[in-house]
Amino acid sequence: MIRLLDKWSIDPPLVFAITGLTLFGIAMIYSAGVVQFPNDVTSGAWIRQSGWFALALVSFSVLSRVPLRWVEWVSVPAYVVSIVLLAATLVIGSGRGTAAGVKSWIDLGFISFQPAEIAKLSTILVLARLLSQRDSGLVSLRDMLPAAALVSLPLGLVMLQPDLGTAMAFVGILFAVLYWAATPVVLLLLVASPVVGLFVSYDTVIWSGYILAVIGFLYLYRYRLFLFESVAVVLANFATATISRPLWNSLAAYQQNRILVYLDPEVDPRGAGYQVIQSKVAVGSGGFGGQGFTLGGQKRLDFLPEQHTDFIFGVIGEELGFVGTTLAILAFAYVLVRLVRMAENSSDPFAGLVLLGIFGAWLVHVFVNVGMTIGLVPITGIPLPFVSYGGTFLFMSWVAVAIAVRVAHER
């Protein structure tokens, strides 16, 4: 029996860890529905999630048997289709729940889904396909351009929705895949530097120190960089520093508010800061051991926002305490480490890149989602893989698992 399960799962450590996370998620979704004044949507969510889980297992069983080359072959058409879908979303998309103004869903009547979920997977595949053809690492900015372009397209479309959280996932994918394609870390940092510069430019002194550090870095690595690359990095830094002020002013008041609230939620405790504060109250009042499964007060009385979807980790924090949050974070850490281990063990370049792409996406999802429940990261509507309620998201995450085990174990 155990052998049978092992065989079915192909990669027992990863698949069973994720199965455990999914079941844990269903339990927490159940708990999230246990409230003082129940409503049909949240109280039945765990049943629907269980149904989607069953469906996901079936698709996993099938997809994990698809030959690697099929996957490789399907990557380009899948990428094209997902770009088309993303573009279509901007026209016919609809919002959901608190993010009603965000056009990220396509509703087909019998089912609705987020094209961005498909786009993430297909982008990983197409990136992997592109970079797997190289034998040597990427050594210049110019080398990175094709990969960056492939990611920029879906990323830009997602930004237009606007869905900042998913956009960050694309950034995570790009950096993880580039890293696995042996791009020097220095180069990756230099690419990221103008964006970092954008944020530190609010203070001239800090920014001056920062730009000096960047230039010093460039000098140290001058033999590994083309001159034009160094110049481009410096110019890009100056450019972002220059536009930071006008950019800030061009933001709508609510957008500025979001950033200010991230820095200090108490500036607007009843408005933009409400979610973070209530979530922090829930997590904080959980204490070391938690208030007990289904017994969270903040959750029960509806203070915790979006408690069965984006803020499910708040329920975990409140009911299971520091013990629960740590175990959950360690479980995700284990899954992430396992992905890297699989990549490390795989001699196939395509497989390794796909695994790292999935790694990058999930790392961002976990860090941003878990971090926002305690105000470590600004709030963006991004779910926690396998745990947050959401049928198509769970399904697509399991498709990613299927692809991961398939590519890793192709012999």
């Binding site: 870390v185 903040q298 924090g317 470590l376």
Partner: protein, 626 residues
């Protein structure tokens, strides 16, 4: 080197592990800070998030009459309260509530303003009907932040019969909150407080201290229930209050007072100054004010020409007219300018010549020489003109002021008018711009001139006559500090002479005999016919006064009653029977006798033949009819 060589992969994998450790380690560290190091602060915040303290109104103290009968108590009622929240959602909630209860747009805005001003719960309706309450409770989810609770509702059992003296309660106003009378540490917006009358006077005693309950709310303001973590504090009910007032007597006075007339009746116990009845007509029902009076009723009360909201018994100022002659007589006796048996040189013949004018008597038909008691009995103006001259203006002003005719009685009510009486000749200079002649003494001696008194003040004066010349301050409640009384220095035989004069008024042949003669009790008193701005011009009758006292024959009086009927004409006709009937009712009850609505001789003979008791009590009268 091939980037896909196992060693290269291994090196990159190590970097990736490091990334996982860094990111996940950051998360775990951050959770450690919040959940382990900072959890107590967040726990507190979680509790304050959902627990709100709400006041439990203390039941107001019950008010009893002198016999232990309830004058004011509390019946179960419901109040509807709303908690502060975003203005738009509060407004929406209130508009939804307006479907099930009476809630005007102005009231909605007023509630919202109060919510914003104080940032705490506001009572929307302190006296909600049961149907409203059940309608709201059924749809509780539609009314976030709204809660319904039991709240004692004030009830006044005497209704209109005692509206003025009892007063009423209502929600505290912003002005009251800012005043010193309602200290900040005891009073908050939304509380029900005494507004006027006894309710206001003994507010702090009746109020009690409100309790606190802890309610659990969800994020949308829906009530979950009582929070079990903290014991609620039920508060303490207000102290009960016992009054000298007599429930049945007050009701009786209300019943016998002519419906179409305005005026006041004051009944005092001469033994201790206790107020037995304090009535002002027309009255109002204080129950109308409980839970907020509706605008129409308020406007009607306010616009009524008969001024039902005006308490004539303690605020109304009237020329005391002939009832004041007793003060003139008392002062003269005290100063020794006359003896009780002395006959004045000028006889009562309808007019008196002094200075360059003729001073008329109210009754031009009067004949003969009078001594003091005779003059009181027939209310002879000419006698009192001469008495006034003997006292002299300055003396009259000084002594009357000393007695206290320009002071308040000090009754335990929030409002009382001060009597008006000149304290010295210079008063005229200030008030009217001229220096008075001795002639002013003539006017004042018969109770005219710049002399205005409240019915209560005159009652206190007659209490002094019913006693030894001293008069305790009238007091409504028992067991409370009492204001300083009066001390009228009069020898016992002088008091007796004054009472003899009063007895002549009600004795056979006296002006008020027929309307005051009672089967069991001796009534003494003085009529008064007070001029008023309308009667002076012949547009209305004079105000009718009767100030009297009664008790078992031959014994000291046990009740003092003063009645004034505005535009009632002669005191003996309308005011005297009110006094006699009030005294009769009180004394019969006091001595455990049956009550009859046919009480005075006048009432008997209107019904039939001269009653047997009358011939027995007044054999000298011979049973004459009127």
């Amino acid at each position: 080197m091939n980037i896909h060589h196992p060693h290269a992969r291994q090196r990159r994998a190590r970097g990736a592990y490091l990334i996982v450790v860094l990111f996940m380690g950051t998360l775990i560290f951050a959770f450690f800070r919040i959940q382990v190091l900072g959890s107590s602060a967040w726990e507190l915040r979680a509790v304050s998030n959902r627990i709100r303290t709400l006041p439990i109104p203390a039941p107001r103290g019950t008010i009893f009459d002198r016999n232990g009968e309830i004058l004011a108590d509390n019946v179960p009622g419901y109040s509807v309260t709303i908690l502060p929240g975003p203005v738009d959602s509060v407004r929406a909630t209130l508009s939804r509530m307006a479907r099930y209860m009476e809630l005007s747009d102005e009231r909605i805005e007023q509630v919202i303003r109060t919510l914003q001003q104080y940032g705490r719960e506001v009572v929307v309706d302190s006296d909600a009907d049961f149907e409203v309450v059940s309608a709201l409770e059924e749809r509780r989810a539609d009314f976030p932040g709204v809660y319904v609770e039991m709240r004692p509702r004030r009830r006044y059992l005497l209704g209109e019969a005692a509206g003025h003296v009892m007063g009423y309660v209502g929600e505290i106003t912003a002005e009251e909150l800012n005043s010193e009378a309602f200290p900040e540490y005891e009073y908050e917006a939304g509380m029900i407080v005494g507004k006027v009358g006894i309710e206001r006077q003994y507010e702090s005693r009746l109020q009690g201290s409100r309790g606190v309950r802890y309610l659990e709310f969800d994020a949308r303001g829906r009530i979950v229930g009582d929070f079990e973590g903290v014991e609620m504090n039920p508060g303490a009910p207000g102290e009960d209050l016992y009054l000298n007032l007599d429930f049945a007597l007050q009701q009786w006075v209300h019943d016998i007072f002519p419906d179409s007339m305005s005026g006041a009746v004051v009944a005092l116990d001469p033994a201790d100054g206790g107020v037995l009845a304090l009535y002002s007509a027309p009255g109002y029902d204080p129950n109308l004010f409980v839970g907020g009076i509706d605008t129409d009723t308020w406007n009607t009360l306010n616009a009524d020409e008969r001024k039902p909201l005006f308490d004539r018994s303690v605020l109304g100022l009237y020329a005391p007219a002939s009832t004041w002659k007793l003060a003139t007589a008392g002062i003269a006796l005290d100063l020794g300018v006359v003896t009780p048996d002395e006959v004045m040189p000028e006889p009562c013949n309808g007019s008196f010549r002094w200075g360059n004018r003729i001073w008329r008597d109210w009754d031009p038909r009067q004949q003969g020489f009078n001594n003091l008691t005779q003059a009181i009995g027939s209310s002879c103006d000419v006698y009192f003109y001469q008495l006034g001259l003997r006292i002299g203006l300055a003396n009259l002003l000084r002594r009357a002021t000393e007695i206290g005719f320009s002071r308040r009685t000090g009754i335990d009510l929030p409002q009382e008018s001060q009597g008006i009486f000149p304290d010295e000749p210079a008063w005229y200079q200030t008030a009217f711009g001229y220096w008075p002649t001795e002639g002013e003494a003539l006017n004042l001696a018969i109770g005219q001139g710049p002399n205005s008194q409240t019915p209560l003040k005159m009652a206190q004066f007659y209490v002094a006559l019913a006693r030894d010349g001293s008069a305790p301050a009238p007091v409504i409640a028992r067991g409370v500090p009492v204001a300083e009384g009066w001390q009228l220095d009069l020898a016992e035989e002088h008091i007796e002479a004054l009472r003899e004069g009063l007895r002549r008024v009600t004795a056979p042949g006296g002006t008020a005999h027929f309307s005051t003669a009672l089967e069991y009790w001796e009534v003494l008193g003085k009529t008064g016919t007070g001029q008023n701005p309308l009667s002076v011009r012949g547009l209305a009758e004079d105000h009718a006064w009767f100030a009297g006292m009664a008790g078992p024959p031959g014994e000291p009086p046990e009740i003092v009653v003063v009645a004034i009927v505005e535009y009632g004409g002669s005191g003996s006709r309308v005011a005297a029977p009110l006094v006699a009937k009030t005294a009769d009712f009180y004394l019969r009850r006091k001595y455990g006798m049956e009550i009859d609505t046919i009480q005075t001789y006048q009432e008997f003979v209107r019904q039939g033949p001269v009653p047997a008791w009358y011939r027995k009590r007044f054999p000298e009268a011979g049973g004459g009819d009127r």
